[in-house]
């Protein structure tokens, strides 16, 4: 069930990228998609348990897998920096293409 929701989020994001005309909306859709991917990794991590794997005297067997979480942290940082970079680019483009519709920008800038 949870898995279905995660994949639905990813697909929603992907369709948003295709169907939204505005460049900012496309970037937000991409963010939705990457949220889905992050949730997927969290889901993988929690397969065997939900407890945070901290070393202590008290032992409860059902620890979450720390590896996917550590990995997805890198991906979150990368995703966020790419988004920041894109938004800067969009700001520059917005001066001459105030509507920010991709097909308009494409028409103005294609050879």
């Amino acid at each position: 069930m949870l898995k279905a929701c995660v994949f639905a989020t990813i697909l929603c994001g992907f369709f948003g990228i295709i169907f939204k005309k505005n460049l900012v909306m496309k970037i937000i859709s991409m963010d939705v998609m990457s949220t889905g991917v992050i949730a997927f990794y969290v889901l993988i991590a929690s397969r065997n348990g939900l407890f945070t794997p901290i070393f202590s005297d008290v032992r409860n067997g059902n620890y979450a897998d720390p590896v996917p979480q550590a990995v997805i942290l890198t991906a979150i940082v990368i995703g966020f920096s790419i988004q920041a970079l894109m938004l800067v680019g969009v700001m520059k483009l917005a001066r001459d293409n105030p509507t920010l519709e991709t097909n308009e920008i494409e028409k103005n800038n294609a050879p």
Partner: protein, 478 residues
């Protein structure tokens, strides 16, 4: 050896940031970094393959062997040539810093053998490539860069889902885990790599990006950056035999697609960019010998892009009325001969080696692609030329240094496969070139047919990913 490898990976990133602090010596530092990579790559050919497992069992895994040596050498030589080309131009330290970080991240992508290190390396490549594409700060360059960043980031999100599935199946991110992973993991990961490497219809972002960038940037992008997506595919094909037929199929498909567009193209830089698509197909069509092909292609393509940047026009029709300065024409002709597979240049050895390693069902397709290559480069070889002081004076010395380095590399690389020189091997490429030239004079010289650019539109690029995903799943499941 272990310390050396780690130091070599870290060096470009370290120097990149130092350059920003000490902008006066940017050119020397970046060139030094490229030279260090050349020597490291040459050193790799003399040592046995080395596998590194950094940190713990979930840590980063690296593999350096002669295959990655070829790719690293390509990267180093092309970067050195680009830096020499820009030496006397008014580029700021920021440009050199980005070039050297791009160089470092491409190196990292060439040596890693686990999906997450590869993901990080590919994303750093996206960012650095965006920054060099958008360096002129014009609206068009920003849009081209943004389009590239967007396409590759969406593809990498799919890739990340695939990597997650591999981990779920094997508790490891290593490439070899593809074997035990579910088919959809393979499809998702390959989608990411195919888009990133500019292969088949998912690679149609490439022509616009590579043709609208500045000359040195297109040389760098076409020469090495796309190969960061190709080498992991080659590695997967070598490690996991089950995926080998899929890779070979995509190799043939992309070789034909690229060449099909290239023969009708009338714009020099776009033709070269479509050619990159087709040549990547040659690398994938025979994964076990792809390294040598990648080296020759990287050298020749960056040389061609640098030369195309100094031609008086980008339109091939106009170039036929405007003679080129003779020395430039000679360089252009040598590079065109090499890529068509003419003996004496290493493009010949690479083509012979690839053709020999093909499976029977691939042979026809690849020969057609080779013929198409000869046709499209006849457009360059038969351009008029004469001595023109005007054009000669405008050239900066850095241009000739870069071209000498690249073409010298092409001649020297012959030694890697000197066994190619036998009568049978020599006759076949000559026949292909002859046929190609004949077809050029009879048909393609006069065609005014233009292929539509519909598939290169941004929305179609994204939509095409879903189609490729379905295609991949279908290929994996049957």
């Amino acid at each position: 050896m272990i310390t050396l490898t780690i130091a070599w990976i870290a060096l470009p990133f370290f120097l990149g940031f130092v350059i920003y602090l000490l902008p006066k010596i940017d050119r020397y530092f970046s060139l030094g970094c490229a030279i260090a990579s050349v020597s490291y790559a040459l050193f790799l050919f003399t040592t046995p393959p080395l596998t590194l497992q950094l940190l713990d069992s979930f840590g980063v895994t690296l593999l350096v062997d002669p295959l990655s040596g070829f790719f690293i050498l390509t990267n180093a030589l092309v970067t050195a040539a680009v830096i020499l080309y820009c030496w006397h131009r008014s580029k700021t330290a920021f440009f050199f810093m980005q070039i050297i970080i791009l160089h470092g991240s491409v190196n990292a992508a060439f040596v890693c053998t686990d999906f997450i290190s590869l993901y990080v390396a590919l994303e750093v490549i996206s960012i650095a490539a965006f920054l060099v594409i958008a360096y002129p700060r014009s609206d068009r360059s920003i849009w081209v860069g943004l389009r590239y960043l967007f396409t590759s980031n969406v593809a990498m999100l799919f890739y990340l889902v695939g990597a997650g599935l591999v981990y779920q199946a094997n508790h490891s991110f290593a490439f070899i885990g593809l074997r035990g992973a579910p088919p959809e993991a393979l499809a998702l990961i390959f989608l990411g790599l195919l888009v990133k490497g500019g292969i088949f219809v998912s690679g149609l972002w490439l022509p616009l990006t590579h043709s609208e960038s500045e000359t040195p940037v297109s040389a760098m992008l076409s020469g090495v950056v796309v190969k960061a997506g190709v080498l992991p595919l080659v590695r997967c094909a070598l490690l996991v035999e089950e995926v080998d037929p899929i890779i070979r199929l995509f190799g043939v498909g992309t070789a034909l697609l690229g060449v099909g567009y290239a023969v009708f193209e009338k714009d020099t830089k776009r033709m070269l960019a479509f050619h990159t698509v087709s040549q990547l197909g040659f690398i994938l069509a025979a994964p076990e010998v792809g390294g040598f092909y990648a080296l020759t292609h990287g050298l020749v393509k960056s040389a061609l892009f640098l030369i195309a940047g100094v031609l008086p026009s980008r339109n091939l029709k106009e170039l036929q009325d405007q003679p080129i300065h003779t020395p430039i024409w000679i360089a252009l002709a040598i590079a065109s001969f090499s890529i068509s597979g003419f003996p004496l240049l290493s493009g010949f050895g690479a083509k012979v080696l690839t053709m020999k390693s093909l499976l029977p069902w691939q042979v026809i397709g690849m020969n057609v692609a080779a013929l198409g290559t000869a046709i499209s480069f006849a457009k360059f070889i038969f351009l008029p030329y004469q001595k023109q002081e005007e054009q000669g004076k405008n050239l900066q010395p850095g241009f000739w240094a870069a071209i000498t380095l690249l073409i010298g590399g092409l001649v020297l690389a012959n030694v890697a496969y000197y066994e190619a020189y036998s009568i049978v091997n020599i006759v076949k490429p000559l026949a292909t070139i002859g046929l190609g030239w004949l077809a050029y004079f009879l048909v393609f010289r006069h065609t005014i047919f233009k292929l539509p650019r519909l598939l290169e539109q941004f929305d179609h690029l994204i939509g095409m990913m879903s189609l490729i995903l379905i295609l991949l799943l279908w290929r994996v499941l049957i």
